[in-house]
Amino acid sequence: MLSRQANNLYWMSRQIERAENTTRLLDITYRMSLLPYRVDNTEQAWTDPWSLPLIINGLASEYYESNPGPITSDKVLNFMVMDSANPSSIYSLIRAARENGRSMRGLLTTEMYEDLNAMWLELRSRSNTALSHGGINDFFEWVKTQSHQFRGVTVGTMLRDEAFQFIRLGTFMERADNTVRLLDVKYHTLLPSAEEVGGAVDYYQWSALLRSVSALSAYRRIYRDVITPKRVAELLLLHEDMPRSLHACMNDIYEILGKLCKRESMEPERLAGELHAQLHYGRVDQIMEEGLHEYLMEFLEKLHTLNVELNQQFLAPVFNPDSKIAQGAHQTQSATQKQSA
């Protein structure tokens, strides 16, 4: 298929997944903001839980540009949910996903396009009430449901062709990226004092994080014990049966790339294999020794490299005049050379 088509489909599913993950992140922020602690030192604005979604998504400077003054929950929610000028807001993400889907309508099933279109239309009609008091939880649930539904329609109706693989690839690449970023949340949430580590606030923060990735009950079932950072890290990084864990995401990414990389020794498949092995054979003790934050940042860097390779190989290749046209170009290479000679 054309690279442009693959690119639009890949981003369509990334955007839907990102809208869901942004919702999860705002949800955890909301829960944390309800916890009973205050930091009075206003110079450290980042200690406010509402700065979290901005820091994690790298949106702090964009936010301050349009929102001077102290951070408030209303302002951050508006910026992250309904601000059409912010390309990373949930509003913009769903709009962009729908545009991507519309331009590739011929490659989607009717059900998929209708679902996507209905999502966008309802978002527009909800735009007034989404942020009102009490409405926010309802809205978060709605976004998550929409994302689940679109994924379900995709898996349930689409031919397992190349287009399908690129859609799935987008979902898991975005999810992997998000899981890393979400787990890093705790690094940014300083506790009021060192004594609080392991205390009630610390506990609530970890449980909010687990809940935001629908992993709290799974944690309880697996560990049947108190919540510790090490176990949370193990669950969300290494546990392959946990659907939003990094390991689970890399399982899917590696499998999809195995199908898409038809030529030998293609870089995306090799990179994904390396990342997959790192998780498959990784031990949580070692990760904690290295430092969780450092480990996560390094992983994020590698995911970024993988995305660069995906662009070059599939989605937005740039022709390099020094490199030979690969074997994939069919026929008459020799005839061409004869003519130009």
Binding site: M1, L2, R4, A326, T332
Partner: protein, 475 residues
């Protein structure tokens, strides 16, 4: 202005129904009274739902709308079709020979038939094309030849469309619609099918591939979703089963065109391009074009890719070159023109100009390089003020205009409000040139929906009809 009643394709002067319309009329008589109204509503609703639209340039409010579709078919007898078909094909053969000539030896100049300045002075002339050899010497692969009828057996060619003629999707969609609305009629009448058009087109494009490849890759190149004919581009690509590509999907390496695909570069052999010459290649033509492919022209010159239509065909379809087409037919084909040109005055000629200015109220005046019914004056239907205003425009630059007598275009039965009434029509058959020159039995009949109007352009309130060519009249 002709005082004669326009030729009515259904009724004789005595009000009798002509033979080829009889089966349709009898069938219609047997239907309930509000039958057509119901069917017209159904057709309108279907077209809206299917999103069959065109964009109107310069209309800020509703940039996209459905083209009005009339549910009464235009019926053409086999004998009349033979004239149209032979005449249109003859023209395209002559025009292809002409293009080959002016971009190579220019024999027509040496023979004293046409001055060199006639084409070198034309903005659509591409000196870059001189000496470029094309597969099969075909320049125009798809042509739309606009033909009108004024009397029994009397046809004229209004103009040739040799660049990126559009509208063929309506021919196919209109037929589909008619078969859906009136299936029983097709059982009663021997209507020649048209749906093989896209198969013929694809076969032709493949046959024109430059290399000896057994499986040449054909693509359809569109300027993008905002183009007025995007629906047609997507429709034709889908019907042919070829990729619908934009400039950004392609690149050129070592004078070979490739597609960016997820499986690496894929070589392109033939591009059916629906984008103007100017925008094809920023390195060769307009440098500010972002729609094209850098290096495409160089690959084309090197013979590694073919374009349909060729670059520089516009030089043969403007209204001043049009005047020479009958001579081209005699010179290149050694044949008599089967369909005549409309008698035309060149306003660059002082005598013609004087005559035209004195008879503006009777004439149609058109811009030499204009298209689509813009920038023209239809004398008989214009007010004195409109004529006076246009006179000033002509006087500023007379050589930019030609004038023609107002033809009494034939009329066809058309369903307006709740009645069947005569309305003026023209016809655009689509001629395909490849190994041979062919056309499908049918074409786009455009109809001026306003009473008395002669302007059939969709941008000016015209509609379309399905065109039925009967295979025989024995039924």
């Amino acid at each position: 202005m002709s005082t004669k009643t326009p030729y009515n394709e259904m009724l004789t002067a005595d009000g009798l129904i002509r033979e080829h319309y009889r089966a349709h009329s009898e069938w219609l008589k047997s239907q309930p009274s509000d039958f057509l109204q119901q069917k017209q509503r159904e057709a309108n609703a279907l077209y809206t739902r299917l999103g069959i639209t065109f964009a109107v340039y310069g209309d800020e409010s509703g940039t996209e709308r459905s083209i009005p579709f009339d549910i009464v078919p235009r019926i053409i007898r086999p004998a009349a079709w033979k004239i149209i078909s032979d005449g249109a094909c003859q023209r395209v053969r002559a025009l292809n020979a002409f293009l080959k000539d002016i971009y190579n030896d220019q024999e027509i100049v040496k023979a004293g038939i046409m001055p060199e300045a006639q084409f070198t002075g034309n903005p659509a002339y591409r000196p870059e094309m001189k000496g470029v050899q094309l597969p099969g010497d075909v320049y125009v692969h798809i042509a739309g030849v606009d033909i009108v009828k004024t009397d029994e057996g009397q046809f004229y060619v209004l103009e040739d469309n040799l660049r990126t003629p559009s509208g063929v999707s309506y021919v196919l969609e209109n037929r589909k619609m008619m078969m859906r609305l009136f299936p029983d009629l097709f059982g009663r009448m021997p209507v020649a099918p048209v749906d093989h058009f896209t198969d013929d087109l694809l076969e032709n494009l493949r046959a024109m591939a430059p290399s000896k490849s057994s499986q040449p890759t054909v693509v359809l190149m569109t300027p993008g979703a905002f183009n007025s004919a995007y629906f047609e581009h997507a429709f034709l690509a889908q019907q042919m089963g070829v990729e619908l590509v934009e400039g950004q999907d392609m690149f050129v390496a070592d004078d070979v065109v490739y597609l960016h695909t997820t499986e690496g570069p894929q070589r392109v052999d033939v591009i059916y391009r629906r984008i103007d010459d100017d925008y094809l290649d920023p390195l060769a033509f307009r440098p500010d074009s972002t729609l094209g492919v850098p290096g495409l022209f160089s690959a084309y010159r090197a013979g590694n890719v073919n374009l349909a239509n060729a670059i520089g065909t516009g030089v043969a379809d403007d209204k001043s070159t049009y005047l020479y087409v009958p001579q081209m037919i005699e010179y290149y084909l050694n044949e008599k023109p089967i369909i005549a040109n409309v008698p035309t005055y060149r306003l660059s000629d002082p005598e013609d100009l004087a005559y035209t200015l004195a008879h503006l109220a009777e004439l149609v005046v058109k811009e030499v390089h204009g298209s689509g019914g813009y920038g023209m004056l239809v004398g008989p239907t214009s007010t004195k003020e409109q004529i006076a205003a246009f006179r000033k425009i002509i006087e500023l630059n007379p050589k930019n205009y030609i004038a023609q007598p107002t033809l009494a275009l034939s009329t066809c039965p058309t369903f307006i409000d709740s009645d069947i009434v005569p309305r003026h029509v023209d016809l655009r058959p689509y001629v395909l040139a490849g190994r041979e020159v062919t056309l499908i039995p049918g074409g786009l009949t455009r109809v001026a929906l306003r009473e008395g109007s002669l302007v059939v352009n969709s941008s000016q309130g015209g509609g379309t009809k399905d065109t039925w060519v009967l295979e025989d009249l024995s039924c």
